[in-house]
Amino acid sequence: MTGISRRIVTASTLAAPFVVCTPGALAQTDRRPMLVVAVPELPPTLEPAMELSNVGTRITYSVFDTLIRRDFLGSPDGGGSALRPHLAESWERESARALVVRLRRGVRFHNDDELTSEDVAFTFAEGRLWGAKPSIPEGPAYFGTLEAVETLDRYTVRFRTRVPDVLLEHRLASWASWIVNARAYRTLGMDGFGQAPVGTGPFRAKRLLRDQLYEFEAFDAYWMGRPTARGVQFRAVPQLASRIAGLSAGEFDIATNIPPDQIQTIERVRDLDARSVVLANSHLLVFDERGPAMGDKRVRKALSLAIDRKLLVDGLWLGRAVVPPSHNYPEFGDMFLPGRKLAYDPDRARQLLREAGYRGEPIVYRAAPNYYTRSLDAGQVLVEMWKAVGINASLQVVENFSQMQGPGQQVGQWSNSTRFPDPLGALWVSWGPAGGPQRRKEWTSVAGFNDAGRALESETDPARRRALFTRMLDAWEDECPGTILYQPLETYGVKKRVSWRPYSFYFMDLRPDNLSFA
């Protein structure tokens, strides 16, 4: 008995350090908090380029990294556009059509593979994001200019484009550019990878319960440092009231998609904050020139001039949404055109209607109630504003965009995101030849606009680029195929002890430099 006891004691003493150091034991002593985020919906896949919606990117942004990091927090409004090294430690232009990127060494994927140029080449391969039939349908919208992606050595990649592409660095810092692990992707296939994603980000997938809970654990080998939370749970909580209740009850640390009329509700709770950011996205109206009475651009302009946007912002958004100076945003940097504005001039609207011979033909605004925040409220106000200048306007509620864009459309709703901080990533993407209004023939008087836009695509000289953007924007405003209402607000309910700042995109950055706990 004494002998057995001695053996046990000896063995236990020897084994103790190993037992204590097992992952399970470490997990038990991990004092970092678990971050719980309540979201209205979870994405069906975590293939980062496949699910580019707000639902998907708010999760995948902390699972995957990009080569270049857009420094959103470099600007107080969370919409900074400076580019910083990330997975790429440096990059340089070989020519207007070639960019060489050098990778950071020693970066590990969640499966312990080292990041190499092979992974980068695979991520941007023809057939995945560009080419004749890419597996990611939205890939060409972001990387359609690519011609080749060449691995020069284990840590160096060259990107070549078909035409001079001044936005390539921005493309590599933004949508659809998250680097995937080539080995895992090849093994699992696109759909399998979407259920078992492998990236280099601070959190790796642990438990994915569809429409219920996606749980991620800290990836402690993260190259930017150990994550500040031991894990993050995204919980599907479709009802707004339930998200706010769970936040108030202390079950969630962050609740997303809080509408402006609930901001005060959250701020009344002692340990909660409402953190808002103006999105790099504008709510707009589309004026379909095929619709009855909509063929005359003076009528379209009158519709735009009759809108008191400040009243909309004050009444519906507590004054916190922003009316941009046309399809022209400060984040464009040198390409921003100062001195422009969206005019409110009811007298001029009436005059234009008279000149156009408008005789009270009905103009119907079709709106889907649940797609854009407060859009139905805005629609009701807009109709009254139009009536005030003599337009026989009415509101028709439709269920979805198919019904909205069906025959007879006159005025519809839409939104435009600034995908890259440049007119080519905003006005041109949405309203150019590849955009919806031109493709659906809602807007056909496009010659001046398209000429300027096409020239801008291959222009690299900054002064000439500004001149071309001016021409493009003038043409868009003169033809008036649509008009901007405002840039909406995205609000998060957050526990005060959570130090975290939102971005002007829906991305939720949970990296160590943007997430900590008091």
Partner: protein
């Protein structure tokens, strides 16, 4: 008996065929899945590629025929949104759905039926009035109102129970209470009124006059005869087990089939909607058949009539 079953099954098959066809046409005519799933800002080329990949650019009649040809081969289709077999997606939700709905059904029956009987036996007393007041309150307060009130009380203020989710048994308490309350209220009303009707029958008076103990009169002579309308209502409740808790599931963030149906309809994810409809129709048919059997067991006159028909 065989003819009886055959006609029931044929009718059930025709019903399912009608439901599936109707749903297919309505969903496809009223919205484009490509636009709904990819979003209004998706590039038109991407939307066109999506349509081509899923055969949505084919004429509607051809899509319909392809769909039924696939069903005939046992293929219920793929979810356009999840890119996974629709049947598997729905089956994944079934355990969570039943984990909520079966206890809720038990609550409805175990509270509603005794409450109705008790109220009937104490007709026009304060017990009767109080029971019926709670019953009316139970089924007239909308589920989302009751749900949010319970969340406010037990999750936000007292912090005794979680506000939503489906991970532990604690998460099931509030949604079961909400679902059970309304159903129990309905069952109590039905049971009370049928019991009152039966208790006024001559054979009850006869049995009482013969000196049969009151408990035996109630349990032996009244209850079986009063059970038929109640069993019918319970049959409907069983039929709605699969997708009958849309609102409650949304309030409590419960990952059930009801919520899945709403999301699938909103996205025009036809295959998923159809699988759920097949499940719903199937459960309705099965529960109705079961109720038919129970009628025969509870009431010998039904058996006799069927025998003569057969």
């Amino acid at each position: 008996m065989i003819r009886f079953f055959a006609s029931k099954l044929l009718r059930a098959f025709a019903t399912i065929l009608f439901v599936v066809t109707f749903a297919f046409l309505v969903l496809r005519v009223s919205g484009d899945p490509a636009l709904l799933i990819m979003g209004a800002e998706a590039p038109p080329d991407a939307i066109a590629a999506f349509r081509a990949a899923w055969g949505l650019d084919e004429p509607l009649w051809r899509q319909y025929l392809s769909y039924f040809a696939a069903i005939a081969n046992g293929d219920l289709g793929y979810s356009m949104r999840d890119r996974r077999p629709a049947l598997g997606l729905v089956l994944d939700r079934l355990p969570d759905t039943l984990r909520l709905m079966l206890p809720a059904l038990a609550v409805k029956i175990l509270i509603g039926v005794p409450a109705g009987i008790y109220a009937a036996l104490h007709r026009d007393t304060w017990i009767d009035r109080t029971t019926m007041a709670f019953s009316v309150l139970g089924y007239s307060v909308p589920n989302f109102v009751l749900g949010l009130m319970l969340v406010l009380l037990f999750a936000v203020n007292l912090r005794w129970l979680p506000s939503g989710g489906a991970e532990t048994w604690l998460h099931t308490i509030l949604p079961i209470v909400v679902l059970g309350t309304a159903g129990a209220g309905i069952l109590a009303r039905f049971t009370r009124s049928t019991m009152l009707e039966i208790l006024g029958q001559p054979y009850i008076r006869t049995a009482t006059a013969k000196g049969v103990p009151w408990f035996r009169v109630v349990s032996w002579h009244a209850l079986p005869n009063a059970a038929i309308p109640t069993v019918t209502v319970i049959g409907f409740m069983i039929g709605s087990l699969i997708a009958g808790a849309v609102v409650t599931e949304s309030v409590f963030s419960w990952p059930g089939i009801g919520r899945q149906l709403v999301v699938a309809v909103a996205n025009r994810d036809v295959a998923v909607v159809q699988v759920i409809l097949l499940f719903v129709a199937g459960s309705m048919v099965v529960s109705n058949l079961a109720v038919d059997f129970l009628y025969g067991w509870l009431d010998p006159r039904v058996r006799t009539t069927r025998g003569k028909e057969g």
